[in-house]
Amino acid sequence: MSDFPEFTVRVDQNPFLPDGGREMHAIVTVEARSSGGGTGAGRAPAAEIIIIDTSGSMSYRGKMAAAKRAARAAVNVLRDGVRFAVVAGANQPRMIYPQGERLAEANDTSRRSAAQAVGRLEAAGGTAIGSWLLLADRLFTGYEDAVKHAILLTDGKNQHEPAEELDAALRRCSGNFQCDARGVGTDWDVAEVRKITSALLGGFLDVPDPADLEADFLAMTQAAMSKEVADVSLRVWTPQQAELRFIKQMVPAVEDLTGRRVESGKQTGDYPLGAWGDENREYHVCVEVQPGDVGRQMRAAWVKLIAGDEVLASGNVLAEWTDDEARSTRINGRVAHHTGQSELADAIQEGLEARREGDEDTATARLGRAVVLAREVGNEQISGLLDRVVDVIDPVRGTVRLKREVSKADEMSLDTRSVRTVRTRHGDEARGG
């Protein structure tokens, strides 16, 4: 745990505010460069739990067979020494490998045994995701300093336990481990899976074609194996009498972190970010400050990336009041871009919600706005998905007509991917990832 990756924090903003201006926006980019030469061989101890939905519906359309292949692929890329388990989820969770409530240590033998055990998965029963997560939480107990990660595959709604039980489970598990989820087929609930992964600092995607699961699980597990530091937080200092209006993760996906604040000292709050590997993420910070006289400068926020007591990197959000309108009215390009992406996600989710409720006027207006925003921020994937839900009449003004026939998979895909953002660009060079 001593060899952290090299973290850098960069702040993009226009620091100039007009006379009396209060609201300061900035994009904080956190980048970690592995010190291990980019091999992806993480140094932090890791624990991985693979949870496969084995409810009855998994037996249709080859989903179960695909899930088995995916689980085997994930097990096969666990590096030696990683603690792991495979869990089957139905009305109750069941240990598939190892036997008994514990984690096994990955090596050639255990990987082979786990792969064989996966072959015995059978689809029968219901869906009670809260109980599955609670088992994972028990299994992870005792591995406090490890990068703890779960993969959750589901194909249905959480029908076999009360919603309160799922909420209680999320409260219990939150902060203990991270969970990425995949929804296969079209019978699962996007909002529900979004809630689960959001609480557990993970991401989720729709996998309409079961055949794609294997590659997806492989990538997820490899990403988990590449994490090098387990629990990173963003510590944000703000001036007295200032208010942190919001802090949102913007890359790789939109995630509002504002409500996750843990007070960590006078004028500082911590926002847990989970584990980090060789990757970068971007955050949109908005602070409301007391205005200063023209010519004055202020530190509007001081962001520090911390792991334990160690400060890994830091950056300043500054404010300077000016009477030069040319300066104060300039909008930083990256702030504008992320503001657009955030609004895009909202417009899609609200538009689809209205559409489901039969409110066609709202749906048309919001999805029309989404068409405009998707073009503006250059999110071609979202533009393509919107084209399957609406007929675009005027892409500049956002005039659209709702399609009569929309496949369930397309609607879910648009909903799921509404929070997936494209990276901002510096100069003319697109950033990778």
Partner: protein
């Protein structure tokens, strides 16, 4: 965007402009690889070694102490000052919150003037209300009776003043040093202040002991270079500054420089070497091009590389020798030292002289002790009126100096 911050990968080491990740040249001054330690133009252009001179043995560390006079005991030149005594370090007597700083930051540990409760961090920001506190260097004035005066000002567009000056009395005159921090990187404002203080102390000490002014200038520049070099924590972020000094010792004037801070002779006119003129030759890309006959002055100065420094003080500068010029003016006038914040707006000596000598009294006449400071203020005002986008620092030394036994205005 003059706020120092982390919105960019760094700031141009020449002009302080924020530099974006993929910028290969500074947007403002055109410096290549603006955030790295190379201040030289692109590799296709090579310069001859800077002012080749026989290497001097490193000077012994001066024993002189820089003293900061308190406001109750204003500095006054004495006939035979002790080495280094009576050095007026620019800014220190007037430093704001925290007073003269003895540490690395320009900001002492003080209490915030805005909220009254917060401690002010080393970067000048209050730890409670967040407001940045004045460093005390936004506007600094100092004077040595009628012997010398100086002003340094933030200018109209910069967030901090990285220029510094120091004045010191001599047995028969005064000396002054102006340094311009070339980087907005942490440490450069400290670099210019420490360099100016150290150089003035060495100059005053050596000249008072009878050392030739040219040798004293070399030692002063070497000492300033050591001080700045020591500030570097790593070569990639080495603080750096320019250097220009003047010694007015009786009827004789000696100036020395490294970088593009300038010395001028300003007078009402007279025979050739009494007329207003530039005494220094910038260590800059444009000046080198013109000196080597490769470009005309107009073309060279229009080039975006014009202001690139070819010599400076700092850990990444290597050993540098100041260039020197000495003369004995035939008619009264003033020696002007200035940072580029002045001469960018008023490059011509005649124009500077017109501003400087625009008063009823003048050098050689029965001017009052406050006259040099008036001159310095007029020059600063001219720079600010012309746009004043950079820090402006001006030091003025009348020559011949007032008679020590009838100190003017006192």
């Amino acid at each position: 965007m003059n706020a120092d911050q982390h919105t960019h990968i760094g700031l141009c080491r020449t002009c302080g402009e924020p530099v974006h990740e993929h910028d290969r040249f500074c947007e403002k001054c055109g410096r290549p690889d603006p955030t790295t330690g190379h201040r030289f133009p692109p590799p296709e252009i090579t310069f001859p070694p800077h002012t080749p001179q026989p290497p001097n043995p490193a000077p012994p560390p001066p024993k002189a102490q820089i003293t900061h006079p308190t406001p109750e005991t204003p500095p006054s030149p004495v006939a035979t000052p002790a080495p280094g005594a009576n050095t007026v370090a620019g800014g220190s007597p007037l430093l704001g919150a925290g007073g003269p700083s003895g540490g690395r930051g320009a900001f002492g540990v003080g209490v915030c003037a805005d909220c009254g409760g917060g401690a002010v961090g080393g970067d000048g920001y209050c730890e409670e209300c967040g407001f940045r506190q004045p460093s005390g260097r936004e506007h600094v004035e100092a004077e040595l009776g009628g012997f010398a005066a100086a002003v340094s000002d933030l200018g109209l567009r910069r967030g901090r003043n990285e220029d510094a000056f120091a004045l010191a009395a001599l047995p028969a005159g005064a000396c002054a040093v102006v340094c311009d921090g070339v980087a907005t990187a942490p440490g450069s404002e400290e670099a210019s202040r420490l360099a100016a203080d150290a150089a003035a102390a060495v100059l005053a000490g050596r000249v008072s002991l009878g050392m030739d002014a040219r040798d004293a200038t070399r030692e002063a520049a070497a000492r300033a270079g050591e001080v700045v070099t020591r500030l570097a924590e790593d070569p990639e972020s080495a603080p750096a500054c320019t250097f220009v000094s003047a010694v007015v010792d009786g009827p004789d004037v000696t100036v020395g420089w490294i970088g593009d801070s300038r010395a001028y002779w300003l007078s009402a006119g007279g025979p050739y070497d009494s007329a207003p003129r530039l005494l220094t030759r910038d260590d800059s890309w444009a000046a080198e091009m013109v000196e080597r006959g490769e470009m005309g002055a107009a073309d060279a100065w229009a080039d975006r590389r014009a202001h690139l420094l070819t010599a400076w003080l700092g850990a990444d500068a290597g050993a540098v020798e100041p260039r020197l010029a000495s003369f004995r003016p035939a008619a009264p006038g003033v020696v002007l030292l200035c940072s580029d914040g002045l001469w960018n707006h008023l490059p011509e000596a005649a124009d500077l002289a017109a501003v400087a000598l625009d008063g009823a009294d003048g050098p050689g006449g029965a001017y009052g002790a406050g006259w040099p400071l008036d001159v310095a203020r007029r020059l600063l005002r001219a720079a600010l009126d012309a746009g004043g986008h950079d820090n402006v620092t001006v030091a003025v030394l009348p020559c011949p100096p007032p008679e020590p036994n009838r100190e003017p205005g006192r």
